[in-house]
Amino acid sequence: MSAITGSQPTTEPPAPEERGPGLAGRIAALPGDIARHWSDYLYILPALGIMLVVIAYPIFYTVRLSFYSTPANLAMDDKIWIGLDNYRRILTSDSFRSVTRNTLEWTVFSTFFAYVIGLGAALVIQREFPGRSIVRGVLLIPWVISYVSAAYIWKWLYHSDYGLINDTLIRLNIVDQNINILDNIHRALPALIIANIWKEFPFAMIMLLAGLQGVPDQLHRAAKVDGAGTWARFWHITMPQLKSVSVVTILLLMLTNLNSFTLVWVMTGGGPAGSTDIWITQIYQLAFGRTRFGVASAYSVILFLIMMALGYFYVKALTRGDAEREGA
């Protein structure tokens, strides 16, 4: 914190009109710039240091490990270079295909419904009504509690002998006797997706709720004077205003879902018969269940490349928001 006390006149924040200097000029002045701004870096040094140790090093290490066959006893000095064999083995295996299909199903359905439900919730919560902040708080609870708690709550709801869901299904005459849910290869994944939507829709809701604050009232009133109905106003005024928030929310949901582990691991462990196995549970199983760190690392790298592609769009969505803001 002592860095803050040192006051360099050169670190004075520039006036707004100095923003966005020409690119060529910037490159030419780069070394001098860095020297002149050296103390600025002190502020971000702790953050960067932590990020480097816990991010840059692991990425490097994982990529390296993915070209090796590793011994089961974790004595990493005995690893053997095998080139792309790990990758070849993964990409040609049947399990990769089924795990990828599960992951896509899990990600697409969870993201879609979490977003749609979150959007609906945000639009209703935005209205003024008594008890509004209580309702908002209650709807946010699933997002705040841990995935482990959520997993056990839903595991208990789905219980094949004593579960509330079975009881409800019987009362509604949908089934006439208890059914297996998490032990059934066709029902387990949809059941997990429902639990996941329960856990995630509040995140979409709170993001979109924040986004709705930016929609100017005048637009709505003007459209109303012109005779636009609720649907027309939603589609032509609200949605365009929510576009950038929506892009960020959907991308974050997708990334979270591609990274899911806890819910699946605690509720089914990837079973029955691999029907709920997704990428991360598969990698965890390979690494810490069967101690095949080399193959697991190669798996991580494949996943990493897919995430990077998504990450590119995420950063692009974020930067576009910044550019609009600075232009405004």
Partner: protein, 292 residues
């Protein structure tokens, strides 16, 4: 605000189909949200025998607080373990939060105020942390912690959790600092305040909601984290609550009331904290992240 009231008052008079559909949707959503939570509490108040009944009952026939008493009794074997898990989690989460704020505040301030070369790439580099699958870090970090003899230490968890919270914290706080006019600081500087004094007296109070929001966020992330705790901590005495809960269940299979009581107790700190401070969180998201 007044315009907002006018609008809703107008639409309420008409009570169009969309308005009604909205309320019905909200009602269904509340049921979807609340039923699992209420079921957790109802089960936690049952005896073990009472929970294993079909059809299940919403109101326990012989309600009991025995499950909670067992978990909170330091003289009981289970209680001693559960309380230790809670304390471990409290320590790890608090340390993560405090260090996280101390690291995020200067970084976000620098990203907002200074124009040093590489500022944008470094900023988005920090945000990229969210892109990476957690497992890609899990394997090398596990090996690293093993080589550094940090397995079974809280330090291994704290430093890892920091990187989860930092990107969003820095992003949110930068948004706050962007919104605070530089002129306020400059005025203070002209009046003889140092940069640090201007920061403490002017910038900090104005960004307090953002700091509160990022602190809650870091705390909740650390309190709820499971995968790294599962991998880095094997010593039962050092487990955090989420893994402890799972350990507990694998030993006392079918003790659903005990498990639900434990899930309920471990949710209380974060839920209460969040409900009390949610307005800061919503405000931080609105002002910090999603400005139009």
């Amino acid at each position: 605000m007044s315009s907002n009231y006018e609008r809703t008052a107008g639409s309420r008079k008409r009570l169009d189909a969309w308005g009604i559909a909205g309320w019905v949707f909200l009602l269904l959503l509340l049921v979807f949200t609340v039923v699992p939570l209420a079921w957790m509490l109802s089960t936690a108040l049952k005896t073990q025998l009472g929970a294993l009944q079909f059809p299940p009952r919403w109101i326990p026939t012989n309600p009991t607080t025995e499950n909670f008493r067992m978990l909170l009794d330091p003289n009981d074997d289970i209680g001693r373990r559960f309380l230790r898990y809670m304390l471990n989690s409290l320590w790890v989460s608090t340390a993560t939060t405090v260090v996280g704020v101390l690291v995020a505040v200067p970084a976000a301030y620098a990203f907002s105020r200074f124009r040093f070369p590489g500022r944008n790439s470094l900023f988005y580099g920090v945000l990229l942390r969210n892109m990476f699958p957690a497992v890609i870090f899990l394997i090398p970090l596990f090996i690293l912690m093993r080589n550094l003899r940090l397995v079974n230490s809280y330090g291994s968890l704290i430093i890892t959790y920091l990187t989860f919270g930092l990107p969003l914290s820095i992003w949110l706080l930068k948004g706050f600092y962007d919104n605070i006019p530089v002129q306020l600081e400059q005025a203070a500087r002209i009046d003889g305040a140092s940069r640090f004094q201007a920061f403490i007296r002017i910038v900090m109070p104005l960004s307090a909601p953002g700091i509160v929001a990022t602190a809650i966020y870091s705390f909740i992330l650390a309190w709820n984290e499971y995968v790294y705790a599962l991998t880095f901590i094997t010593d039962d005495r050092k487990l955090t609550v989420p893994v402890g809960l799972q350990r507990f269940f694998s030993e006392y299979v079918a003790n659903w009331p005990g498990l639900m009581a434990a899930a309920f107790l471990m949710s209380i700190p974060v839920v209460v904290m969040f409900l009390v401070l949610q307005k800061y969180f919503v405000r931080a998201l609105t002002e910090g992240a999603i400005k139009q």
